[in-house]
Symmetry: C2
Subunit: 458 residues, 2 copies
Amino acid sequence: MARQKKIFLEESEMPKQWYNIAPDLPSPLNPPLGLDGKPISPEMLAPVFPMNLIEQEVSQERWIDIPEEIRQILFQWRPSPLIRAYELEEALGTPAKIYYKNESVSPAGSHKPNTAVPQAWYNKQFGIKKLTTETGAGQWGSALAFACAQIGGIECKVYMVRCSFDQKPFRKMLMNTYGAKCVSSPSMDTQSGRDILAQYPDTSGSLAIAISEAIEEAVSDTTGKTRYSLGSVLNHVMLHQTIIGLEAKKQLAKVGVKNPDIVIGCCGGGSNFAGIAFPFMYEKLHGANIQIIGAEPFSCPTLTKGSFVYDNGDVARMTPMMAMYSLGHNFVPAPIHAGGLRYHGMSPLVSASLHDGLMEAQAIHQSECFEAGLLFSKTEGIIPAPETTHAIAATIREAKKAKEEGKEKVILFNFSGHGLMDLVGYEKYMTGQLSDYEYPEHEIEANLAKLKGYPMPK
Amino acid sequence: MARQKKIFLEESEMPKQWYNIAPDLPSPLNPPLGLDGKPISPEMLAPVFPMNLIEQEVSQERWIDIPEEIRQILFQWRPSPLIRAYELEEALGTPAKIYYKNESVSPAGSHKPNTAVPQAWYNKQFGIKKLTTETGAGQWGSALAFACAQIGGIECKVYMVRCSFDQKPFRKMLMNTYGAKCVSSPSMDTQSGRDILAQYPDTSGSLAIAISEAIEEAVSDTTGKTRYSLGSVLNHVMLHQTIIGLEAKKQLAKVGVKNPDIVIGCCGGGSNFAGIAFPFMYEKLHGANIQIIGAEPFSCPTLTKGSFVYDNGDVARMTPMMAMYSLGHNFVPAPIHAGGLRYHGMSPLVSASLHDGLMEAQAIHQSECFEAGLLFSKTEGIIPAPETTHAIAATIREAKKAKEEGKEKVILFNFSGHGLMDLVGYEKYMTGQLSDYEYPEHEIEANLAKLKGYPMPK
């Protein structure tokens, strides 16, 4: 049989439902808690999110229909191709068969539009006229800007962390091109922004500040027509991303693979990992023998060195407390290039999966990741985003192990995004200017110690 | 029937031969001439190109086999999708059915790898160890760097015009990531570079200088293992690009379209236009009624305001004289953002097609093009390269005409590349900082007048 590089699905074969892992988790999910330690009710979230998305956030339905209008927009790039990494396999001399799901083919260049489009759609259905959000490296802001342009009739305002805003002018231009407004955070547009600028006029900004500004703008619109949108961490975000793994299952079946032996994704807030992994966790929960690996930065080791605790999603403690693996909400990760993985916490659903033993985690230095990214660029041709190189480095580790063991394992990983707009890290690696960072052990300990008064998850 | 957004081909359906239009042209092609006015023999090109590519350059075979090893590399992204522009059609309210061939899915983001891969492969077959080339905006240099990494065992050296080298650091990083060496031109690596730097230390460089440097390095390698590579203009480049139109024909057939009514591509050196158009010119030569339109910048109107003459490809007159539409080799185009369309001449094969009445041309201002690019970004989601926006603007003109006439025309255009690394033009357009440039009528006249002593094509 001729070798086949790309495995496509017809548009008619794209999944018609998302998979919600919540009802299938061995232990019931710990609810989000308010600052008073009591569970948050859906109504308490209503000023921030539209009720139809809140319903998804707390849903215990296993399968949730994807509305037809959302499917029509996803068809612009979905189903995404599943690609056999023949060239990488040859370079490694491994008997492993490596497949990757190429999420970089979306207009914004990553998996993020998979949830940006439904979030914009549900908000519009609910009568919302404007969405606010924050962005760090810029992937999420670009995706939401794209989605609002597609849905139409919904404004998009992005608060971009000042240092990224200044360093990455192309990201802002990309959002502008889609018709969104992108401002440097802290900004003069909100009270929290003005307060910080008055006190620290030279601050480089932070994700925590940008979140505060975006939420403030949403909840302070007296017409009630503005809401806030988040690109990772939350349950409904993980839900929307499961289309990745559901497609991959159908594609693997076309080449005669019932289940892969290993599934790998990189982990920041958890959304691209959940997207590829949850549908295979479903198989695992039904008896399949699948090793599922989350790959995270050595310097921001949430899953490998964090604790399973109740913690806030932001520094200012504006978000509810969530049961998750965390390094403590005051933890400031080292300035690695994979900006999308620099987060102290982890999606509660992904955290529960690790706590319940459905997955494992590996922490990897950025130099090993960039080395993997370079090998991938030269063999498979596509340049991976710095975040994605973590999944590739973990894949290469497993492919080498398969070689040592002489086993023909099937490895599937999520190629979450391309790196065309993030080439500085490669340049630094190639010119010997890239540093690795040690485990910030004492800092993690000190930050986790501050959570002593918090409730404990069950 | 459910509407289908993307039309794919299986890898097994990818064309196995390229189409060479040379033997089918109504008038025989005028041969390239040396400075003495006598036809250039293949042997005279041997220090610059490998003989197997020179054979393709002068071939009169209609169909030329694509070697299997090249096909395997093209499978990384080919067959490329044909996409129905439903969202654009709706925004225009046109009865026209608009399809575009999405060449932006290649690892380098444009159609250029379609010829970079075969060129690297044929050079390697011929025993060549190093390829030199020049690049302006950076698309071609990136493509050749990618191709050399894929082929392996062949070095790549790119001379990048200094002003682009300084303005677009990401393009250089991209080439470096693929393992190529990219230097600013003029450089200290060649005699012609050193001479120019000695005389004009502050020069911003030019494509003509970069070509001189790349050719000098190739021909001065005493081991005979270095050759030069060109990304457009030449016959064998047009040949390799015909895979675009050949695939599009098969894809249109899948949705019941025998031939489109209109085929559109943007024109700089001619390669992406030839790629989509030549297979349909074949149909036209066999009786089909197809309107074929080349879209070019208003300020660099080679096809609409140039003369069909013998002219050199570069300012320094290092290249042979070719029979082509030209604005005169001393013509310096206005600094529009579509850098890839800023060329005084046009592929001899495309020029002959126009001269023989197989196609027509339209010149369009860059503001109309960016307006078209913005509309496309917001409707179809993908941000077009500034070059590609010319094809989109021409498509929108024809779609509006179809609306006025109430005709359900099928329009096919080539989406030659994405604009993720060229967003500055959009930013300037949106902030009102973009200028249009008038027809440089007197300059064209003066430059063409200088060609008075040149031979005339038949």
